[in-house]
Symmetry: C5
Subunit: 305 residues, 5 copies
Amino acid sequence: MIIRKNEHWFKMLFIWKGSVLPQLLPRLLLLFLISVCIVYLKGKLFDFKIPLNPAPFTLFGIALALFLGFRNNASYDRFWEARKIWGALLNDTRSLARQALTMSGYPPEGKEVDTFIHYLIAFTYALKHQLRGTDASKDLDKRLSPELSERLKPAIYKPILLLKEMGFWVQKAKADGKIDSIIQASFDQNLDKLSDIVGGCERIASTPIPYTYRILLHRTVYIYCFLLPFGFVDSLSWLTPFIVIFIAYTFVALEAIADEIEEPFGTEPNDLALNAMTTMIETTLLEMGGKPLPVATQNPEGILN
Amino acid sequence: MIIRKNEHWFKMLFIWKGSVLPQLLPRLLLLFLISVCIVYLKGKLFDFKIPLNPAPFTLFGIALALFLGFRNNASYDRFWEARKIWGALLNDTRSLARQALTMSGYPPEGKEVDTFIHYLIAFTYALKHQLRGTDASKDLDKRLSPELSERLKPAIYKPILLLKEMGFWVQKAKADGKIDSIIQASFDQNLDKLSDIVGGCERIASTPIPYTYRILLHRTVYIYCFLLPFGFVDSLSWLTPFIVIFIAYTFVALEAIADEIEEPFGTEPNDLALNAMTTMIETTLLEMGGKPLPVATQNPEGILN
Amino acid sequence: MIIRKNEHWFKMLFIWKGSVLPQLLPRLLLLFLISVCIVYLKGKLFDFKIPLNPAPFTLFGIALALFLGFRNNASYDRFWEARKIWGALLNDTRSLARQALTMSGYPPEGKEVDTFIHYLIAFTYALKHQLRGTDASKDLDKRLSPELSERLKPAIYKPILLLKEMGFWVQKAKADGKIDSIIQASFDQNLDKLSDIVGGCERIASTPIPYTYRILLHRTVYIYCFLLPFGFVDSLSWLTPFIVIFIAYTFVALEAIADEIEEPFGTEPNDLALNAMTTMIETTLLEMGGKPLPVATQNPEGILN
Amino acid sequence: MIIRKNEHWFKMLFIWKGSVLPQLLPRLLLLFLISVCIVYLKGKLFDFKIPLNPAPFTLFGIALALFLGFRNNASYDRFWEARKIWGALLNDTRSLARQALTMSGYPPEGKEVDTFIHYLIAFTYALKHQLRGTDASKDLDKRLSPELSERLKPAIYKPILLLKEMGFWVQKAKADGKIDSIIQASFDQNLDKLSDIVGGCERIASTPIPYTYRILLHRTVYIYCFLLPFGFVDSLSWLTPFIVIFIAYTFVALEAIADEIEEPFGTEPNDLALNAMTTMIETTLLEMGGKPLPVATQNPEGILN
Amino acid sequence: MIIRKNEHWFKMLFIWKGSVLPQLLPRLLLLFLISVCIVYLKGKLFDFKIPLNPAPFTLFGIALALFLGFRNNASYDRFWEARKIWGALLNDTRSLARQALTMSGYPPEGKEVDTFIHYLIAFTYALKHQLRGTDASKDLDKRLSPELSERLKPAIYKPILLLKEMGFWVQKAKADGKIDSIIQASFDQNLDKLSDIVGGCERIASTPIPYTYRILLHRTVYIYCFLLPFGFVDSLSWLTPFIVIFIAYTFVALEAIADEIEEPFGTEPNDLALNAMTTMIETTLLEMGGKPLPVATQNPEGILN
């Protein structure tokens, strides 16, 4: 995810990094060349004049904008929902840490509470790795007992098994006479929320926007853009390639951004900064537990991932 | 549901499988032929020139796009809400399994917990079969005791009766002195959520978008598309059939997709992958209970149902 | 509410029943006749040529479509929220029935539980009658004790008094030593939800979309449609009445549908099927209680109310 | 708030009361006169012909419609959220009354329960007066003990202090041995909801839509409308004033309605009927408590406030 | 945040303060000058006539309006969600204060309750300072014990540590025998909500709308506006600069407002009035505790921050 301060309105017109322009350049150049050819041939194809004019483009361009708007909205909603779920993860792990510190009956600086807080941190890492399909072992080894870390290795749904461990931790506190059923139920409600968080992430990751929508819109956007020069060559003459590029840039870029943020758990520039968020959760939980904080480093170019 | 990786932008223009194009082809071909005739007759019908021009099409095309956008939104919301409800089903069955494992007082590997976990799995299958109107017997026989499976056969609302069984299971744990009222209430809250999930699915399945909307839009889209060639024949000449097909494809396809995802519990290519989700719930619950996992198979063409 | 299977795309163009066309026919015919007159007079009124052209209609038609879209959205949201509330009613009565069966300490087949389940069924009927302003006596007499049914007759808010009776039922179970405060609180939470359901329905029924919006849009839609023939008579000539009717049909029909589903508790074809939903709730509650089910009959034409 | 039955579609075109037309008449008349002058001068200003044509108006009119749609949506959402919050107030006071009647251990017809129900009624009145900035004393005097009523007089946040009193009432019930901690917690959850209701109302009342939006849109709508006659004088000639008034009426009226419902707690015709809702809450709570009902009077013209 | 009463519709056209006009003036003036030059040169650039006409501007202007509408919506949703979270902060601190007063068992006027209420007030200030990146020390020193205030100084997440202190306060009340586990759980639920509030604010503050969207729209809006004069110079002649400025003002201003309210925790004129809201929370909590109120001052120009 790219974080950048607002710049001067004039400078913003020429920003290169962080825009989707670089990745779209080849397609736009191709379109530019085609437009130049069409202008050169005055819209003729093997002596046949293509009889297009701006009218159907106006009619359809607005319809296309509407449908792109729908696609955009759906993608952005997915992005923002994913962000909300990771926000809930922060809130809920903090709440569970607070419960362990102030309600469990164990001493706040003791070993039991520390174990529980590291369960929460390991849970966060396990979730991140599951969503990105990467290997969680290294991060879990550092934060869990060797025995538990080993037991989790073959598991498909590691965060869920960690939730079960937390449930056993609470059960043990009750068996030790530290808490009663009511406090156990309080913990349990927050564990339920963690279960909702895992499922919410899995839902977004496993169910994209229906594929047919994406093909349909992709196809329509590109055919529209590649027909545009024929429609404007008569009225705009040698200006056609420039105007076509300007219009196509916006349509094509919007489709590309929508495509990118639709899967918010990836590592592309506009995806969620899962690494930064995981470190942040670890930091705040350790601060709550009165432990030394990890050294967080920020990417100097303002790109987190 | 079709799951497919992003492809190259150029290749995506020619994808055939997974688009709605095949199913719309006959209608679009018919429209193409009609357009060709109209061009051949230069827009005349028995010597009467049809005096249409692009103006009313521009006016109305945008209104039509807006109304299609509304229909599209409503359909997609239904699709996504259905997906959210099935996500909640995953979360909630996991939470109940965790409660049975860590709060019920029964041994986590014992027979009682195992029975409960199989209630949850059977519940998932029973819901799927109810929504699709298919026969649940085979799937229930495998996961429930013969006596209970037999008792459920004539029932209309099988998942609800399974919820009642889970309620009795919790009541028995209390009678056995394993849990107190507080833990019972904790189970009960999650059973309430399962009840909400069943009702949510039934709501989407039984209440489509008002029929009048669908007729109105269907009619308007098709009349609009079949009038289009008359409006453009004078200005676009022999290009008319191509432009008409291009515009009609987008409008007609959007209406067709909206129609398909509106009923997300069916087995059409863009519906929810209930089979895959049910298997996934079974897998995660068995993993939690420390049981061997079922062998899941994925359709090689990326289509789940 | 009309429930109908998807038909062939071609047949759907000619459906008469279930569309709003019949009810709009007189207005559209009037508009058609006026258009014919205008064409005959070539847009002249007492020798004055009305100098209209398509430009202002394009400008304003799209604005009108946008505002109609807003109205449509607001109406549909009301319809769908009403449906959600009735869905919650189903979920919550099932949850309360399950609580009575598995948590109350009374025998599941006993008289007390049966009374409670009939309170729930009577509550559903009482709510339906309150929303439709019809007489609840007959339906309550069948399901409640004569004494209670009589006591409810003069009441304004019958469902709320039934909620109070359920509260007393739970209180009596506690006084009988069957349940403790925790189980009482569990029942109480679901009773709170029923209270939310009643209030939610009352809100939708008593607060329509601000009247000024409806007048404004109604007026604009109709003036627009009746001015349309003047704008197109010069360019479309004798085709004007047909095109005008086509455009007007969509605008007027959308406004009419929005008007109809805005009050979802009525008995018009596109309103919610309260009768069917009430019967369905009764069926599922009786099935849960192990009682014989009522005979439900479905309207052969696919119209529920 | 104006409540009116649906009228015949033709009569609705001529409704005067309840529309915003009366309040907009002076501005529209001014615009009409200016348009007439412009037609008379044939678009010339001191011999300079204003070279405007419909093209920029089409371009910008649709953009303006979009932005008005955004403003409209935001205003309507505020209106409907405010209505939802008052609906929640009804639900929650009913739930608290039911709790006092069936869970408090006090006799349902006794003095203590009666006091509590009057706290709830007074709370509703206090909230209404706080939102409208009117004097609550008279309404509180009637429903509270003189001592408490006097104590509330100087308070800024009267409903919140009444919530505290309810908290003390519950605490006393516990001290009297009538309820235990669990029932106290059940009351407390509903008191929390009342706290949310107060804060929700205060939020809507104190945070309007950002002022800059409102200025920007207001300015754009009016400048647009006053430029319109220049754009159409050449093509529409003497019809210009009529068409301009028709278009301007819709734009200006939508902005005026959005402005009105944006602050839903006022006493303008389209604001929420707080008086009627307060009386309704009082009626239902007294009916629950078995007390005689107040005489509610409805405004004969269908306007509630 | 600017709060201003509705003014006369005519006066509102000329408001300067509180509009974004002042900040946009330089850019608009630049555009005006360029337009004047283009009119003077009759659209020629070094003898080459720029062959632009209004058609592509109409096509694209509407698409641009749609995309701006999306950006606007997303920004406004962020603004309103932030306001909702601060509203929840008000509600929840009031609920916790009420719990401390009526459920903690400590005397309502005693020292313990007073400490707790000051924790809540300090929490509010700490959150405000964290979001704005300002120094909280001064505000915390006034409201907390020197020891605690000192301990918080180096902390990164001060509000979270204050939540932990509140948890310890509740634990101590339980150890003192003032409350049981049930009341502790009631406090705990509201502390969980405060945790959600902190996280919600952090989410909005740390995750802006994807940067690529902002660049894309910024670029498109400005290029569009600077091309506009070429498109209209032929048809509008010397009126071009005025019409261009009018259209550009709306587009550019909407983008600027969206940019401003997107980050609602800043101190720009359209951001949330965090200072006023913090003072208001302090006032209502002190009033509940029966303490003397702070003197609140309102900015005479109607601007809060």
